[in-house]
């Protein structure tokens, strides 16, 4: 009997750890016995590299270049614990239109009946950076995905990118687009980081579903070309990712976020700037007080 897979899109600013987070979620879900597909929606096509031991995988768009008929096995690789890895691909830097590429790649995957053939429980879309144009919003449009998660650190530019994503969700959700599952707080270092992200979540009517501190374990696993789940399965971080995967699998609550206007976001950030400064001056960090601010 065919089951309905959950389609999950994961967004966030470039370099924030989207691919690392997505791959670890995929690995944790697979480890828990689910059938998982991970689709990298980025012309760099390096989303699934830690799941498949760094082996070469032609991208969906690469394989359409010569005009020949494309088969599912040509554009997918089976990685860690049976995860099906796909890279949408895109033009070489500086030419063409990567946004349209994502659109076309996802259309092709549907034509190839990927989901009917593979029968996944979860499909994870790892989407390039900011929502810079309509093409990158494709995974959250037209009911393609069930929920969206955004990966963000406590840096302002990451929050800014998250807020932009919220605008896109807000625009598309009324016409059947995906809703927001929550924020995945990643790469946390500063003592105020958790409080800042929590406050942003409150301001925008959403929630943080997991907090992942910066860690050498993550860096080391990546250097081995593996996920944390595979390289350091007994580490604290592996458990954090497992917990995150469970939340995503079991807690299907999702909302339409209320993005801040440019001015409100600027004022909100300034307020936090002031608080952090005060906190440094009294040399006694009290992040609980900051959250209440």
């Amino acid at each position: 009997m065919s089951k309905k897979p959950q389609h999950i899109a994961i967004y966030g600013k470039g370099g924030i750890g989207k691919s690392t987070t997505t791959s670890n979620i995929a690995a944790a879900l697979a480890e828990a016995g689910y059938r998982v597909v991970q689709i990298g929606c980025d012309p760099k096509s390096d989303s699934t590299v830690t799941l498949r031991g760094g082996n070469y995988l032609p991208t969906v768009l690469d394989s359409t270049r010569d005009g020949s008929k494309v088969r599912l096995e040509d554009i997918s690789a089976v990685g860690f614990k049976g995860i099906l890895c796909v890279e949408a691909g895109g033009p070489v830097p500086g030419v063409g239109c990567a946004g349209r590429g994502i659109n076309a790649a996802i259309t092709l995957l549907h034509e190839l009946k990927l989901f009917e053939e593979f029968q996944p429980d979860f499909v994870l879309y790892d989407v390039l950076g900011d929502v810079v144009c309509g093409g990158f919003a494709v995974p959250i449009r037209e009911g393609l995905t069930d929920r969206v998660y955004v990966v963000s650190s406590s840096d302002f530019m990451a929050i800014y990118a998250a807020n932009n994503l919220f605008k896109a969700i807000n625009k598309y959700a009324p016409s059947g687009g995906a809703k927001l599952g929550g924020i995945i707080a990643n790469g946390l270092v500063a003592p105020y980081a958790k409080a800042l992200i929590d406050d942003f979540a409150v301001q925008t009517g959403t929630r943080a579903i997991q907090y992942i501190p910066r860690s050498l374990v993550v860096s080391q696993s990546e250097l081995y070309g593996q996920t944390v789940i595979e390289a350091n399965p007994h580490s604290e971080h592996a458990d954090l990712y497992r917990q995150l995967a469970r939340t995503i699998a079991d807690d299907t609550d999702a909302v339409i976020p209320k993005p801040l206007s440019v001015n409100d976001l600027r004022n909100w950030a300034r307020k936090w700037g002031d608080l952090i400064l005060q906190d440094e001056q009294i040399a006694a960090p009290n992040t609980a007080a900051l959250t209440a601010a």
Binding site: R65, P91, V92
Partner: protein, 479 residues
């Protein structure tokens, strides 16, 4: 606002304050423009609107010795199918969805090579289209690479189809592209100054974007009587005449302004005098046009004698044209020719009951004031297409004759109005006056086709549509 170093020409509305939507009397138009600038309007509904790409291709199709590659989907080259130029070779890269994602440079390269291999043109123009402009396809590097390989000029023409509301921007874009090439060539081959002003056989550039070949040839013949040689640009430009364009003694428009772009550039870059007299349609305008050129070239006496002789010859024809006197005409032409034709109508005793122009530039305001002094209530409709607006105007103006280019005459024909399509006629210069007189008489007496059409049940718009204000969609932009 013209900078030849820029990638392409600026939008016409930015450069010349071009107005492309308006309806009202000429005096109300000028009241709004009392500060010297036309007040902009927008159309909130457009039945049809040509783009810079369409007009650019139409102009490019008249060039000699070149081939054209349209870089875009096949439909973007549709304008070239109607080309009357038997020597024109062209191809379209026919990019598809995959090219729009991955970039179309491979196809562009292959198309240019193939076109060159098949026809060995002296130059290839690469025309961009909306898709490749949005995608930012890198036309420049393909041009750079193949220019060396093929050893001929490869000239990118950056039309885009959406940047400007005024399709005539396409004329500027074509002029810009050609001049960029000509001036670069000139800079490498001419390190000395321009040819001597004392040259015994001066030659001038006739700036044209819309005139027919016969009309241009007729003006060339007129100038030849004053020992002035001439070559057209950019319309009918022959690549082998490139040096003649850069070494010309002056450039002069044939249309009172639409072809102005090249004149400004040649003046700024080479110090070449640029003249923009009224379009040489009718006796007075032709006199002004010829005198302006003769003065700059020191041929005043010869010109005055020629003008006197021609005017004497025309005098009897004008006197004999009693049949046309008092008849009502409607003019639908570009602004420059329309303004000159209004003056010709005064010369031969026709009453102009309305004018439609595709657009107006700020530079045409003084010429409009000349008309307003005699006919302040003359209705003016500004726009491309919008046949229902025109039908409403024609129904109230009730002209006997409608003067335009061929396809534009359709709405008037359906209303049973005699039409005079100018496409294949020479209406320029003194010879043009004779032609117009003959044709106007003939058309007024032979409107059988129009009467037949008017009897049919072929009203293109419903009664309800025409009953509401036809000019409803012309709005002042709220910022």
């Amino acid at each position: 606002m013209v900078n030849i170093r820029q990638r392409t020409a600026p939008q016409r509305e930015k450069r010349l304050g071009t107005l492309s939507a308006w309806y009202g009397s000429i005096s109300s138009l000028l009241r709004e423009a009392s500060e010297g600038e036309l007040v902009q309007r927008i159309r909130t509904f457009a039945q049809e609107t040509p783009s810079d790409l369409i007009l650019g291709l139409e102009l490019l199709a008249t060039l000699r010795g070149v081939a054209i590659v349209v870089h875009g989907p096949a439909g973007c080259a549709a304008g070239l199918h109607q080309s009357q130029n038997p020597d024109l070779h062209w191809a379209v890269t026919q990019i598809n969805e995959r090219d729009s994602i991955l970039g179309g440079d491979t196809k562009l390269r292959a198309t240019i090579r193939q076109l060159y291999a098949d026809h060995q043109p002296d130059a290839i123009l690469i025309v961009s289209t909306p898709v490749v402009i949005i995608n930012n396809d890198d036309i420049d590097s393909v041009v750079e690479e193949l220019r060396e390989e093929l050893g001929i000029p490869l000239i990118p023409v950056f039309t885009d189809g959406f940047r400007s509301k005024v399709a005539a921007t396409g004329y500027d874009v074509v002029s810009h592209a050609l001049l960029k090439e000509l001036l670069a060539h000139h800079a490498t081959t001419h390190t000395t100054e321009h040819p001597s002003a004392e040259s015994s056989n001066p030659h001038v550039t006739l700036l044209s974007v819309q005139e027919s070949g016969t009309a241009i040839a007729s003006l060339q013949a007129l100038l030849a009587e004053l020992d002035i040689a001439s070559q057209p640009f950019p319309r009918y430009f022959d690549l082998h005449d490139g040096e003649r364009i850069t070494s010309a003694r002056l450039s002069v428009t044939l249309d009172g302004g639409t072809a102005d772009y090249a004149g400004h550039v040649l003046q700024e870059q080479l110090g070449q005098p640029y003249l923009n007299p009224p379009a040489p349609i009718g006796i007075a305008a032709t006199r002004q046009w010829l005198t302006a050129i003769a003065e700059l070239l020191g041929r005043q006496a010869a010109a005055a004698a020629l003008i006197q002789q021609q005017e004497q010859q025309l005098a009897s024809a004008l006197q004999a044209a009693t049949q046309v006197r008092g008849r009502k005409v409607f003019i639908h032409l570009a602004a420059g020719p329309a303004i000159s034709l209004w003056h010709l109508a005064q010369e031969i005793g026709l009453e102009v009951v309305g004018i439609k122009v595709p657009f107006l530039d700020n530079s045409q305001i003084p010429a409009l004031h000349d008309i307003a002094r005699s006919q302040e209530n003359l209705p003016i409709l500004v726009g491309h297409g919008q046949a229902f607006e025109e039908i409403a105007l024609l129904k109230s103006a009730r002209p006997d004759l409608y003067i335009s280019h061929g396809i534009d005459a359709l709405p008037a024909s359906r209303l049973g109005i005699a039409t005079l399509p100018l496409d294949q006629l020479n209406i320029l210069g003194f010879a043009g006056v004779r032609t117009l007189l003959q044709q106007i008489e003939r058309r007024l007496n032979h409107a059988h086709l129009q009467r037949f059409l008017a009897e049919g049940e072929n009203e293109p718009y419903s009664h309800g549509w025409l009953k509401k204000s036809a000019y409803w969609y012309i709005k002042q932009e709220v910022r």
